[in-house]
Symmetry: C2
Subunit: 421 residues, 2 copies
């Protein structure tokens, strides 16, 4: 399949992340509330207004789903409804569509709006499914001989994160305080993190609930779409706190996601299989077909007032476990899943030096600082640094992209009196 042409001219440009083939779902601020929209080229089609005006009907006779200002109520309606709206919007926006003239009034330029969270995050789970990343971090935290945990080739291991800390791209990220204890220190001190980092991930948005175990195939049906996800991480807080209960405050400051959810349907042409398994998976984790996607990813770092350096280029196909496998595993205990659950893929690192999805790996724990195009060096993030994640699947003459997921580091606030001696 090639580019699907639209009467929205900017959607036919080779430079856009948002051709008619994509139609990602987002939400933008309107007064004190928000409207839902789909991106098309440089514009947003306002689906909240379309629904209010009776120009689209998500499900005949059912109550409005877009009045709440995010995609949660729509997702709850299920895959048949998702497909129906996608087909309707594709037809309305296609080149030569008779609606073109009257739909112009429902288009809003992306440049003029403030995006908000596209769905209500029920709970957030973060996984650890990149083998290169797990090996690299394990080597630094536990030594080369204990790098890959014994369970890693059997379990898509993960931990529960903090949904309240999920924020939309563009929101500032305040450097956290925490307990820090270096290898030489006898006691911890309370101070701003000095090893604050990003993690390049993809997030899967769960659009259907479950109660009891689901198969990998069923899990895949439950996924509505994907976002770019930056799992901001304080490495010094993490190193001291994470044994034996896992990461907690080191990962609770912020998790940024792209404002656009790329629907699973738009990624179908880009499915790829997982790497060969070194250990046979248990039956409940086996894939019914290719479950990963060929999505090129990159990370840009922009010092305050400086130019951007692309510090990593990698691909989502590097993962060992897919989101569907992670979701199936998530349900094995009987854990109920809900509409709006968000699952981070785990950091996506490739096998090469320029393909690493965190500064921890890129600077090898600070031992080999990166040199940026401005001539500055970086081991971890400095105040004023902006991190930009980008991702896109490349089609024949078009691409299905995620836009950007950005965040700028704001300085840690002064400690209140009660937190100092």
């Amino acid at each position: 399949m090639g580019l699907m042409r639209s009467w929205v001219e900017s959607a036919n440009s080779t430079g856009t992340d948002f051709p008619l083939n994509n139609l990602p779902c987002g939400a933008f601020a309107v007064g004190a509330g928000a409207h839902c929209g789909v991106a098309i080229g440089a514009m947003i089609l306002d689906v909240t207004r379309l629904e209010a005006d009776g120009r689209i009907e998500v499900e005949p006779g059912a109550p409005a789903v877009f009045s709440g200002g995010d995609w949660t109520a729509f997702m709850a309606r299920g895959p048949a409804v998702w497909a129906r709206l996608r087909a309707a919007l594709t037809e309305m926006l296609a080149e030569g569509a008779p609606e073109a003239e009257t739909l112009d009034a429902y288009l809003v330029p992306q440049a003029g709006v403030r995006m908000v969270l596209p769905f209500t995050v029920a709970e957030f789970t973060d996984f650890y499914a990149g083998k290169h990343h797990a090996t690299n971090v394990g080597t630094m935290f536990r030594g080369a001989e204990n790098a890959l945990p014994a369970n890693w080739l059997s379990i898509p291991i993960g931990y529960n994160g903090r949904a309240s800390s999920v924020m939309v791209s563009g929101t500032g990220v305040t450097r956290p305080h925490g307990q820090l204890k270096g290898p030489e220190d006898t006691l911890p001190r309370f101070a701003p993190s000095a090893r604050f980092d990003f993690e390049l991930e993809l997030g899967a948005v769960v659009g259907q609930p479950s109660c009891g175990m689901v198969s990998v195939a069923e899990a895949d049906e439950m996924i509505f779409g994907y976002v770019l996800l930056n799992d901001w991480s304080a490495r010094d807080i993490q190193a001291w706190e994470y044994q034996p209960l896992g990461p907690f405050q080191s990962k609770a400051t912020a998790t940024s996601i792209s404002p656009w959810i790329v629907p699973k349907a738009a990624l179908e042409p880009f499915r790829v299989g997982a790497p060969e398994r070194e250990r046979a998976l248990l039956p409940y984790l086996r894939e019914p077909g290719p479950m990963l996607y060929d999505i090129a990813l990159e990370v840009g770092l922009v010092p305050e007032g400086g130019a951007e350096t692309v510090i990593a280029r990698t691909n989502y196909r590097e993962m060992y476990y897919s989101s569907a496998q992670q979701l199936a595993h998530h349900t094995t205990s009987g854990c109920p899943m809900r509409v709006g659950d968000l699952m981070g893929s785990g950091t996506i690192s490739g096998s090469e030096a320029g393909a690493l999805g965190s500064l921890l790996e890129l600077s090898w724990g600070g031992q080999t600082p990166l040199t940026l195009e401005t001539g500055e060096t970086r081991s971890f993030l400095l105040d004023g640094d902006t991190v930009i994640l980008r991702g896109a699947a490349q089609g024949d003459g078009y691409r299905v992209g995620f836009g950007v997921c950005t965040g700028t580091i704001l300085p840690a606030g002064d400690l209140p009196g009660w937190a100092t001696e």
Copy 2:
């Protein structure tokens, strides 16, 4: 202060958990919805109906808070409103109150209703603040020399749990499946947990939001009340999965809470200080006064069709960290807290053999099975077993109790075809 007498006679009995001094908050099913109520003796005062009929006004001129059928909207109004309603209800229910006659119609017998979750759980965090428990479990999982983690005396360590799995007392708990790998096995297998356990905890209900760091004193102000909490745990799943990211599916099957939230105000007379610190706490964790409570706790185990054996008796004052300290630590990273967040205290074990809050400790990992009054033995829970948690603070001639938190183990379902070879 002694017993506060009520015109509801059963509230003056020495046997009740619910004298006028308590007034715990719960919710009970009414048709397809639920009403909020406070327990008084053997009865429930229906506050949803009282509000609807204009007999109570939570905040002059503000919209109704009890129509939603749980306490979340009320909690969001804050401590001044909590105190105001408590004062009003105390007056209305006191012996000799002029309202007695007309309020009779708002009383519902507890025996006749089905209780539901008393609030909407935003997120669930479970801590590990019992030193005896941490030492015991650490010894079994990592050996005596590595029992207490290095960070334990500095950090109230915790992990994020799964809010979707929180259920009200009385709900059946289905034995989970999971990956199990014994020390002798080379590879894991997928099977029902054979080491399914309970954990005796107290849960703190966060009634006010925060954005940024709060002090221990501020954290205490944010807590609305406490529930009994059973953090069901699959020890065999836990042992294989928990490194390095912490417990995940082993704790995601179910977390049961008592239907009654005992308000912090009712527990004020029972405040006690924490044990002496072996290591000075960092300033942000220091207590402004006594932060724990003298609450006697016990665990009963009832085999299917058999009699109950009380298998543990302990006290909440055994904890090393209070809920307020845990909450203050939770905010250090900037993690936003929300109305309805639930924080488990960690397993409450005392120092003696009969004071251990889990079967893992009581049977020492299965090595010394318990003998029940029926003559049967238990290392871990069997299908049909019911676990009953109880807790109460003892006053002079009265007690402030939590009622019970119970759950019965249901057999694991058959594995679906796709999960077997």
